[in-house]
Amino acid sequence: MDLGVSRRRKIVNVVMLSLSGVCTALVMGVLFFILGYLFWHGAKSLNWNFLTQVPKPSGQTGGGVANAIAGSAKVLLLATCIGVPIGFLAGVYLAEYSGKTFAFTIRYVVDLLNGVPSIVIGIVAYALVVRPMGHYSALAGGVALGIMMIPIAVRTTEEFLRSVPNSMREGAMALGATRARTIFTVVAPAAISGLISGMMLNLARVAGETAPLLFTALGNMFWSRGWLQPIATLPVTIYNYAIAPEEDLHQQAWAAGFVLLFLVLGINVTARMIIARGSASARR
């Protein structure tokens, strides 16, 4: 092989490899520029009143998003109460009880549900809850987000229960425990840190969802009592403020975005740390 060809190959090698490095740097750069900008801009517009007051009537400046923060918490609580038990128990069924064919069917359906666009889930929650009741409500928002939580809850549960070694199940059963007792007092507690962090990731994922809340929870300028009234949530508030013409509301949108991102990423990092620590101690 003559020198020219091998030189060309070496040059191609170096050029292409550095190009892939440049692409990585570019992607990371764009993403970090964006997030850095949000943190900087959002933290600047954040103040105490913003976190403790409700929105001012339109035309006046100031006010805050306290009702939206509380609203998001309420809707997410509802969603967790709907999505997590169903998802967890279905995951237990898949991991511990089910036969092959039925498990395949359920897994397929779960994947299907995971792929449904969030706006479509919003339509369904509208048709199932809002239309029969005749008005928008926190409950409808909770149902929409609850449905969205199911797929990840199922998968997390199944995955973490499967990672518990069979010897533990056999040990429990050898001591005379029934299957149910084995699952709920031996297997599930062994996987608890994974389960909890999986559910936290799940919650963080739906906490930022806006589309399914637009016509279920709708929004509210004031505090919302009970579960059956329209309710303000952080993501929808950000959206409404961002597309509003007033400059003051844009500042508030940045601050609200900062709060939302802080919560979502905070939950994410905590959950991932729990998982990492769990797998490290399991290896030991």
């Binding site: 993403l31 128990l89 279905a90 069924y93 511990e96 706006i119 339509i123 930022g208 589309a211 959206y239």
Partner: protein
Amino acid sequence: MATSFPVEPRVIVRSPRTFIERLRGGDQIALLTTLVCAVTIIVVVALIVVELWMNSQPAIKAFGWHFLTSSTWDPNAEKFGALPFIYGTCLTSALALLIAIPLGIAAAIFLAEMAPPQLSNLLTFLIELLAAVPSVIYGLLGIFVLVPLIRDCLVPVLVKFFGYLPIFQGDFYGVSFLSASLVLSVMVAPFIISVSREVLLAVPVEQREAALAVGATKWEATWQIVLPNASTGIIGSVFLALARALGETMAVTMVIGNTPKITASLFSPGYSIAAVIANEFAEASGRLYVSSLIFLGLVLFGLTIVINAVARILVLTTTQRSA
């Protein structure tokens, strides 16, 4: 002195327990409860399909297939056609992938093949965090950061060098197909990167070693040996990203301009299926109007289901083959 006594075999006779007794033991209750929850999921998905289908019946009856090919969207005259939205959804998704695929795969190659494991893991962790950023925040950044940036930096360059192309005609106001595509590409890139990296890492090390041993450069080993091995999985990751881009609502709604229009120019404002539902559903009055919006939801549902199914099959076949 060891003697053995014959032991009388004793048969333990247990009366068969009744159904209620077994229920009390807890075992059957647990089985039944978990089974009910598993079936609930199937019911939920069935409900989604049925609700979408039933509620879009008025529109299906009124317009039929013509709904998908008509480009009129006039709520006042009760004339509804989905073409501008389907066009917008497909155009922005395709363009977003066109940008995100090369960048994403190159970054995945860097992370899987070149970066030291510690750095690779750190960057992947950060990229996965970025995938968790809510879409409304991407929309916020799109409106206030990306759109001015595109207007001031990108568009003058494009017009100067490619201004003769039909896709870069007309005035640029900020909200447009181009802005929506760029925001989408930033959103889907993390997906392509993290899934492609997994798939690349699943290719056996021996393949690389064999290629290097016969004198291939690092790049040749990656490009000619590792990538073809991982191609099915990478295509799967692209389909996953496509499904996400098609269904993405908030970020697109905030920067696409919300004008039902079919033009070749990327500078022109447009509309997408998810965006029109998000914008008009809460205010829609009249049975046919609401029903048309739900029909659009059904179309979107069908699109994403098909693409997700293809993606799953592709990713499954590669990861299982390597396992």
